[in-house]
Symmetry: C2
């Protein structure tokens, strides 16, 4: 056995930014001290800055699903009519949460790999003018498809409904102009483009959403937006925060600010573009060709080859963890991630490894054909000013 | 300025066990892999072992308050009658959660520093035979008092109510015979006796509690006991786990197992005993003399001295963070923690520092008087077999 470095190449958890990882070693800190309040305040301020919003931003010791729960349990009442856009596993999660809390959801379901259109949203809101909320994934991680968030927002903004966007893999992979487009709630997670381990979720909350909170009656305690806003204004969290992860987030946000959010997004978009070019050269079909996002590219396994074999061989031959399909797509697709701390060198290696695996499993491709496509995208991008 | 090492001497976050802290550096791991399932399974099994229970144990990416919320939102229904024992800030939290979820709570309130008695619980259950639950803190961190959990359990066990114990600072500081005493839900947190940073909560769930879950109707989603049990049985968490903290917990639990839970508890109890002896020598009054717990010892500041001055001088003179009183006790008491990774050498230093601070602030004590009391307890304990 030769050396096989461990590589985490999944769309969350994503590769870790080393200085952020190391920052966790300073966890012998108390959360009710001025030292920690400085870190916490910096996180909230920097999140606002990189998200590009003047809305309040709240932070939770929970994974992203916790913030999704918080949005529903804090802003709605039992029996409220809402519209859910469901284009994959995470759209189904919105529908489940709405059901768990007794909302009356009009679920707009499209087949995996496709997207719900702004027109569908507008039509649903016409059918249901009393709808109080519209839920969507900016990027549906399970299929690699990205929604037209701006188009949907335009439809929602004209109604009394708030627009709740799970941007857990959308942030840092696509432009999201929260305030101008009218994104009332935008949810993110630590283990995605923000390059640190899972366990923190955050969300922005618009004035329109705060107004809805005033009349909302669903019970909640741990996830309490109003309390968390008040605590955050004082540089603290309502409950004991996940200090280690907050220290990591502060460090990662410094890097994202230095890089620039636009550059971080462009990074993911370039890697996605290069991956699609490589896939074309290798005869691999995109799973979501109509609206491919830049957080992750889902590729169909070649006919006759289980995608699980590709995933396993990435692990056994190269020590690399890539993502299989989820749910009914398991065995059919595999997913190459781009969000966060990924660079072209990672992608050269990933595509070269993929070429080896395809050749070894009855799908002959010329060595280097996919890699060359990535190199071309890279060389072209390098004409632009250098990244940090 | 001379060297002042930073020392975290609070009852949570507590001093970190270094190998557990370092284990977080291996966070480039994916939670849906066999590598991680092994770690997760080990955590659940080791938690059961050190908690000494055959009940199910569930783990959450949240702080302890999240697990408190989970116990209420998963096991009760709106309008359920319950009994809340409130002897401090965390008892008040149970009352708040019960209120947030629309339970009808009979709140047994005692002044800070005192405890609710088993007799009071028995009487409340006689008044309210339909009560579905009794809530208590094993150790009320805000006052340093410990409840007679065994006595209360005996009263609760004869009724249809479940006994829900916040043992966030109780675990590892006092015996809790979960199965024999009839503790239906026992809640713990990572940043207490388990020596790692905050962000993980866990709870044991008895068959009696599971039965109540079947008829419970409060809405919930992120905190879902049944789903988490099913996931745990498969070596996974329902949602993305806080992988870094799970890695740390696995390492800390290995140490706790090696040390032995009985020895960990004895460690806290000896340090508490020594602290009380030192306090007596220094003329400092205990805040909860009737039922002092071993997670933390709350001491009254000498007459005319704000406890905040003591806290500040620990920080400015010795780089050490100790706990002030919370809420209405702020300025009146200060708290010396014993739970988790504390040893006698920590306490020698803490009491010596305290003697300096008292002398410098108009409360003269002979240098070494309190330290000698700690040394005597230590020397006596050292006659017993050595700890790990």
């Amino acid at each position: 056995m030769h050396i096989r470095k461990q590589r985490l190449l999944t769309p969350g958890p994503t590769p870790l930014y080393p200085p952020a990882l190391h920052a966790m070693m300073a966890s012998d800190i108390h959360h009710r001290t001025e030292d920690f309040r400085q870190v916490y305040r910096a996180c909230l301020a920097d999140l606002k800055e990189v998200m590009g919003t003047a809305h309040d931003v709240l932070l939770f010791a929970a994974s992203g699903t916790g913030a999704m729960d918080a949005a529903v349990s804090n802003l709605f009442s039992r029996g409220d009519k809402v519209v859910v856009c469901s284009a994959g596993k995470f759209g189904e999660r919105w529908a489940e949460i709405a059901k768990a809390y007794g909302l009356e959801a009009d679920v707009l379901t499209v087949p995996y790999g496709e997207v719900v259109t702004p027109r569908q949203v507008a039509e649903a809101l016409e059918r249901q003018p009393a709808a109080k909320g519209v839920f969507v994934q900016a990027s549906e991680t399970s299929t690699g498809a990205a929604h037209d968030v701006q188009g949907m927002a335009a439809a929602v903004a004209q109604t009394g409904a708030i627009f709740v966007v799970d941007a857990i893999t959308g942030l840092g992979t696509m432009p999201l102009d929260i305030d101008r487009w009218g994104l009332d709630v935008v949810i993110g997670g630590s283990q995605k483009a923000f390059m640190i381990p899972p366990g923190l979720a955050f969300m922005s909350v618009s004035p329109k959403a705060w107004k809805l909170a005033d009349s909302a009656t669903l019970p909640h305690y741990y996830f309490n937006l109003k309390k968390e806003k008040k605590s955050g204004d004082a540089g603290e969290s309502s409950w004991t925060p996940a200090t280690a992860l907050v220290l990591a987030l502060a460090e990662a946000l410094r890097y994202v600010k230095r890089l620039g959010m636009a550059r971080l997004i462009e990074n993911a978009q370039l890697l996605a573009l290069a991956t699609r070019a490589a896939a074309a050269k290798l005869g691999l079909e995109l799973f979501a060709p109509g609206s491919p996002g830049s957080s992750v590219t889902a590729l169909k396994a070649p006919a006759g080859l289980d995608s699980g074999v590709i995933v396993k061989e990435f692990r056994s031959r190269f020590g690399a963890i890539i993502a299989n399909g989820q749910g009914s797509m398991k065995g059919k697709i595999f997913r190459i991630a781009h969000l966060g701390y990924f660079d072209f060198a990672d992608l050269f290696a990933t595509i070269a490894a993929l070429e080896i695996i395809l050749n070894a499993n009855g799908h002959p491709v010329p060595y280097g054909a996919g890699v060359a496509a990535v190199q071309e995208t890279c060389a072209h991008a390098m004409a632009a000013p250098a990244a940090v």
